[in-house]
């Protein structure tokens, strides 16, 4: 498990601390925390979606590629979204339904990168009695380079 000792897997535990739809302010930054990406967490993520390309596992092979070393799959931001946010982040509210996401990729994340996130709700709306929030996110490495940026559309439980 990715840094399990520090991660609360019971999403009910801090549910009362998380913002409901009414409390979310579009434009207000979300609290975020730096996260050191490891080779092991990349490998676990790869296993969960069947990624088996050697550029994620084989250092000798990876050195021969344009990237010059091991990288993480582009979709590693799926992990980073939770690893870079604290337990009271509203993305963890039980019943949050993901309706869709769009992501742009600049440079790959790599093992031992210290990843930071700048994130906010960008918009909220009501459609067919459902409470929507659009979230806006940019991940950076320790050099300040953009790894990827993306938006997601979630349906809020309350």
């Amino acid at each position: 498990m990715a840094q399990a000792e520090a991660f609360e897997t019971d999403f009910w535990k801090d549910a009362n601390l998380r913002k409901a739809w009414d409390d979310i302010v579009p434009g207000a930054p979300r609290k975020t925390i730096p996260y050191t990406l490891t080779k092991e967490t990349i490998e676990l993520y790869c296993r969960s979606v069947g990624e088996d390309h050697p550029i994620y596992f084989d250092e000798a092979y990876a050195k021969t590629t344009r990237y010059g070393g091991l990288i993480a799959p582009p979709s590693i931001h799926i992990l980073l979204m939770f690893s870079c946010t604290p337990a009271d982040d509203w993305m963890r509210s039980p019943g949050t339904v993901n309706a869709g996401q769009s992501w742009s990729y600049n440079i790959p994340a790599r093992p031992n990168d210290v990843i930071t996130l700048q994130a906010r709700a960008l918009d909220k709306s009501i459609k067919r009695e459902r409470l929507f929030v659009v979230h806006d996110n940019v991940f950076f490495n320790q050099h300040g380079d953009v790894i990827c940026s993306g938006r997601g559309w979630t349906i809020r439980p309350e």
Binding site: D10, S48, V49, F82, R92
Partner: protein, 144 residues
């Protein structure tokens, strides 16, 4: 034939690998993504209604679809020296344990910009009965 920007045409298809969804695969995705939303874990919770929707049991993470599509795109792009630059997806139907899903792509168009060359790809994921569970589009760069 090796994939290259020049020999790609609108309508060309890309097939991703089939993926068998199980309670174990969903749990593994929880551990790998740190997304422990009870939608993916808690059978009792999933007996309830979500507005007008009742899923009838735990469902796979929508972002598991996203990861499978992204895997298909990179596995196609890397051998061609191309770079996966963008992916947009929408979930249209829940995926449940016992389903088998498969991502596919169809080349939509090509475009040359000031500094590079781009391929736009319509992507989708279907389940074992052919129903679309996710749709979207991807963008791949073929650098000069």
């Amino acid at each position: 034939m090796t994939t290259s920007f020049e020999n790609l045409n609108a309508g060309d298809s890309i097939d991703g690998p089939k993926f068998a969804v199980s309670r174990e695969s969903i749990r593994l995705f929880c551990d790998a993504s740190l997304d422990y939303n009870p939608l993916h874990l808690d059978d009792d919770y999933m007996k309830g209604n979500f507005g007008k929707t009742n899923f009838g049991g735990i469902i796979m993470h929508g972002m598991n679809n996203f990861g499978l599509i992204s895997r298909m795109i990179t596995d196609w792009a890397y051998p061609a020296g191309a770079i996966h630059r963008r992916l947009e997806t929408r979930w249209v139907k829940p995926v449940k344990p016992g389903d088998t899903i498969q991502p596919t792509g169809v080349i939509k168009s090509k475009q040359v910009t000031k500094n590079s060359r781009w391929v736009l790809i319509d992507v989708m994921v279907r389940n074992q009965t052919g129903e679309k569970v996710a749709t979207g589009e991807a963008m791949v760069e073929f650098p000069h």
